[in-house]
């Protein structure tokens, strides 16, 4: 359910690498509960923009605010704790860790037992670990991964790895979830399941979602609004209908069918 409260406010954000302006002058707003898409041709700067939002890159211009909190210059882990979580274009799971442990890592920042209590196996360690275990298992049940709890993440088939990555990102309890090409490498059937999953998690966790995708079926199907990036700049925004018929967008994709 989309509310009217503003969650993410990006004003004139940009970053330059040496002489190259990878992203410049981007204005973007997300209301709480929205499901918004970010599209553009390859190399447009979409992932770079995600990196700006999550603190991997520090913006050289502009400001980024989440729920009124300024995020510029904060370390990535601090931004995550403020409420932004993400998945990656090339899946970044903790391969040697089990499925369960991957999700437990997302709970770490909220764990209350200290290193000393773990080393000396004091009561806070046991209660803290138990809590993490229970929460993680419940979570994985939601994503139908409970049969693979102790399997090493690297051994999962591709589709389940993607699901795990999303589950892990959500376990971090974000206000805003960034999905970077979640449908990459999926067939139409899997993409359809993904669409359902995204709608489901948006409802279930009262999330705001910003989604990078190339698969237009997915984007047009679930997104309420779409931003279009090309050469690091916003060239269009609006509803799927508006964007689909925008000549600048069509041109950016060099005459590719955008539907």
């Amino acid at each position: 359910m989309t509310t009217n409260k503003l969650l993410l406010k990006v004003k004139k954000a940009g970053i330059r690498f040496g002489g190259l302006k990878a992203v410049s002058d981007v204005n973007l707003e997300l209301k709480q509960g929205e499901l918004v898409g970010l599209i553009g041709p390859n190399g447009a700067g979409k992932t770079t923009f995600f990196n700006l939002l999550t603190g991997v890159y520090v913006p050289t211009e502009g400001s980024i605010e989440l729920d009124g909190d300024k995020l510029n210059g904060l370390a990535p882990f601090k931004i995550t704790r403020k409420g932004i979580s993400r998945t990656f274009q090339n899946i970044r799971l903790f391969g040697e860790l089990s499925v369960l442990d991957n999700v437990k890592v997302a709970y770490h920042s909220r764990a209350r037992h200290s290193i000393l209590s773990s080393i000396f196996r004091l009561p806070p360690h046991f209660s803290g670990e138990k809590e993490m275990e229970e929460k993680a298992i419940e979570f994985l049940k939601i994503f139908k991964l409970e049969d693979f709890l102790h399997e090493k993440a690297k051994n999962l088939p591709y589709g389940q790895q993607r699901r795990l990555e999303i589950a892990r990102a959500l376990a971090a309890n974000p206000k805003l979830l960034l999905l970077d090409e979640p449908a990459a490498g999926m067939n139409p059937q899997e993409t359809h399941e993904l669409m359902n999953l995204i709608s489901f998690i948006r409802e279930r966790f009262s999330l705001t979602v910003l989604l990078i995708e190339h698969d237009m079926l997915l984007v047009m199907g679930v997104c309420e609004r779409i931003y279009v990036l090309d050469h690091g700049q916003l060239i269009a925004q609006g509803t799927p209908e508006e964007v689909r018929n925008n000549p600048k967008v069509i041109e950016a994709y060099l005459g590719e069918e955008v539907s």
Partner: protein, 324 residues
């Protein structure tokens, strides 16, 4: 529901260690074991501590550290100063060795751990050398000729320290903190993205690892009658590195087993030091070419007895010996 308290394997290990330790103590006090064997056993204990401490830094947290002998040196000299110059008792010296090395780990870790991969390796190598050269030039502790140290390391102390090291590092690994470190090793960028304060944990692992290297240093100093800066050069760092790598990066049992085997081999090849080095280096090269995951890969001994091997360091089934 998975048991979170100590499982069977843990108590089995404790019992076996207790029995073996008592046995060895009996043999030592009875004079049955000649000093060659006693020395070897003590060396094994010290090397187990060194191997597990480096395992925490490299195997679990994925940080290249090839200057570990520097921390050994700091612990050795700090503890020696406590007993020889300040006339303090041995337990104080051991603690001082650990703390001094831990502080060194903090000082070295904070600037270095911003670096990655090869650069971190070289930085740690550089720091190890700086430590050695510094000690070489301080007359208070004997300079190049070194320092004589009373023999205070006894079997009970050695066992206690080895057990403490293994238990602490195992407990750290099997907790959310250990998982945080492993996540850094597996994918640092994702770990950042999941809210892990990667700098904090890299430094923490480094400090804990160097602390125990310092403890090993105290035991070392008080066992071999004399310590000299030449004992702590990068060849020593490589020795420790070889334990961890040959045992399997990510496996504590691997590191322990490798420490035991390689110490035994090298004491028996003591008189043929060039042959030893040639064999070592050939084994190293061949291992990397044909079995880079080392002896155990990331598996622990316990996982050989269970269905699942999550490979992050299960309960230790041994301190000095393999079970089955």
């Amino acid at each position: 529901m998975k048991k979170l308290t100590h499982g069977k394997g843990f108590w089995t290990a404790i019992v076996v260690v207790a029995i073996l330790s008592a046995l060895i103590q009996f043999l030592i006090s009875g004079g049955t074991l000649n000093s060659f064997y006693v020395n070897t056993i003590f060396y094994i204990g010290i090397n187990i501590i060194l191997a597990t401490s480096l395992h925490l830094i490299m195997g679990i947290t994925g940080q290249f550290s090839i200057g570990h002998a520097g921390f050994l040196a700091v612990g050795a000299y700090a503890s020696a100063i406590m007993t020889m110059k300040l006339d303090l008792p041995f337990p104080v010296a051991i603690l001082a060795g650990g703390i001094a090395a831990g502080v060194a780990g903090l000082i070295i870790g904070i600037p270095s751990l911003r670096l990655k991969g090869d650069y971190l390796a070289i930085a740690t190598l550089g720091f190890g050398e700086i430590v050695r050269i510094t000690f070489l030039n301080i007359d208070y502790i004997g300079g190049a000729s070194g320092m004589q140290v009373r023999h205070l390391t006894t079997w009970p102390w050695l066992v206690a320290c080895v057990v403490l090291t293994v238990v602490v590092i195992t407990n750290f690994t099997n907790s959310t903190h250990g998982r945080a470190c492993i996540s850094i090793r597996e994918n640092e960028i994702a770990a950042d993205a999941m809210g892990i304060n990667t700098t904090y944990y890299k430094v923490a692992a480094f400090v804990i690892g160097s602390f125990f290297a310092g403890i090993a240093g105290a035991l070392y100093a008080h066992n071999f009658y004399i310590i000299q800066p030449t004992n702590f050069g990068f060849l020593k760092s490589f020795d420790i590195l070889i334990f961890v790598v040959l045992g399997g990066l990510g496996s504590m049992s691997g590191a322990v087993i490798a420490a035991i085997l390689l110490t035994i081999i090298s004491t028996f090849l003591q008189d043929y030091s060039e042959t030893r080095m040639i064999i070592y280096s050939l084994v190293l090269i061949i291992m990397m070419l044909y079995r880079p995951q080392g002896l155990m890969g990331t598996k622990e001994l316990t996982s050989l007895f269970k269905h699942r091997g999550t490979g992050k360091g299960g309960m230790p089934n041994d301190n000095k010996q393999t079970i089955a």
